[in-house]
């Protein structure tokens, strides 16, 4: 029991600063690093990485926390990303547990899936709430996803490092 508690504590001690650093980078530094007027997203890529390596339980928890920080970095009161990224964390973890092979191509696919669903949701919400035509929002969402995907490489090594350090294995 005590060993299990220590394991959770170690994971928390690693993940909390990881999340906070990513959030601060996304909301301060990367808002200045625009490519063709588009800012990258780090938190969904990181959430996909943790879910891919650690499975649906840790993926869901990380997704929940990353989603809350996404809502904060988007300056919005609503909690759409809290719910969406929890769901995506569980989904990617589930796919990784069942159908996806381990390795970088599958990880990249997971990141692409997470970014595509986040962007898809943004296109939809802009269309429904902001009345913005999809023809205008889709290119922005595509650029956002492609630009964010660049950061999947460094985050791959960080997620894998976290997995190896914690030796978490899969928790069903």
């Amino acid at each position: 029991m005590a060993r299990r508690k220590n394991g959770v504590l170690i994971k928390g001690l690693i993940l909390a600063p990881y999340l906070i650093i990513l959030y601060l980078l996304q909301s301060t530094v990367f808002t200045h690093l625009q490519l063709m007027g588009t800012k990258p997203l780090l938190l969904p890529v990181a959430a996909a990485g943790i879910a891919f390596f650690c499975g649906r339980v840790e993926g869901g928890v990380f997704g929940l926390l990353a989603g809350m920080l996404m809502d904060l970095s988007y300056n919005q009161l609503t909690v759409q990303f809290t719910l969406l990224m929890t769901f995506l964390g569980i989904l990617v973890g589930l796919l990784s547990d069942t159908v996806l092979a381990q390795g970088f191509p599958s990880y990249l696919l997971s990141c692409a899936l997470e970014l595509a669903l986040v962007s898809g949701y943004q296109i939809l919400s802009q269309w429904v709430l902001g009345n913005a035509p999809m023809a205008l929002t889709a290119p922005v969402a595509l650029r956002q996803s492609l630009y964010s995907l660049i950061f999947s490489l460094p985050l791959y090594y960080l997620s894998r490092f976290y997995f190896r350090v914690t030796r978490s294995g899969r928790t069903v």
């Binding site: 007027g37 988007y74 909690v79 069942t98 913005a132």
Partner: protein, 280 residues
Amino acid sequence: MKDLISKKVIRIGVAAVLAALLAAVTVALSGGSAGFAAMLSEPFFKPLKSALTSLVGSLEHVYDYMYRFDEMEAENAELKKRVAQLEQDYREYTEISEENGRLRSLLGFVERHEEMTLEPATVISWTASNFSSSFTASKGSDAGIALYDPVVDEYGNLVGQVTSVSGASCVVSTVVDTTLSLGAQMYENGEAGVAGGDFALMKEGDLKLSYISNTTNLVIGNTVITSGSGGVYPAGLVIGTVSGIAVGSSGLDPYAIVEPACDIDALAHVYVITEFAVSE
């Protein structure tokens, strides 16, 4: 299926829903001003974000300086040392001059609008979203700032509106944000319309003046100001100038493309109008 959706997974889902409900309840209780996550995290994140933003600003300054220095070096190597010294002096002078100009402009604006109470604030960070235009400013309800307060730059040009506020900071949606719309009129002929953000124009840094009549005489270069209708914004704040004229998809609704008077990309200091006299 039972194995795939374990109790832990269900618990995480429930936790997410509870977090969403808690946020919704706190937003409702605070009158739509701030969610619990923002309130809880603010004391921790605000200084970190301020420090990082200022670090990025400094790095940008260093980068700009190096770039200019290289160009000058290529142009004239023997004047390099002197130019570097002049550059240093010039940067110091520019900083002082800019601050002086900003304060003078503000003084002029305040003198012209004695009925207004202004609260100065600095821009802490910009939104990470590619679908909106908003920033976090360094002061909140502790400084008397309230939801929907108008925000101007040092020249009195409209920057946007406070759309969320907590104790020590507030979120300002800029005039180009798609969620913002306000009563406006042309300064030259008094024709009324509604100014607001449009997604296509937002990426270009412009906004739209719509609901104008077909007979309105639209001239590029005309000034668009706030009409004051509704009492949310004071009348007469400069929104921008007409930079183009277009017609909506129906072919019957002309609108003007307005270039904001404030330089949104260069905003560092803003002034929140916490009180003003409503013109009847």
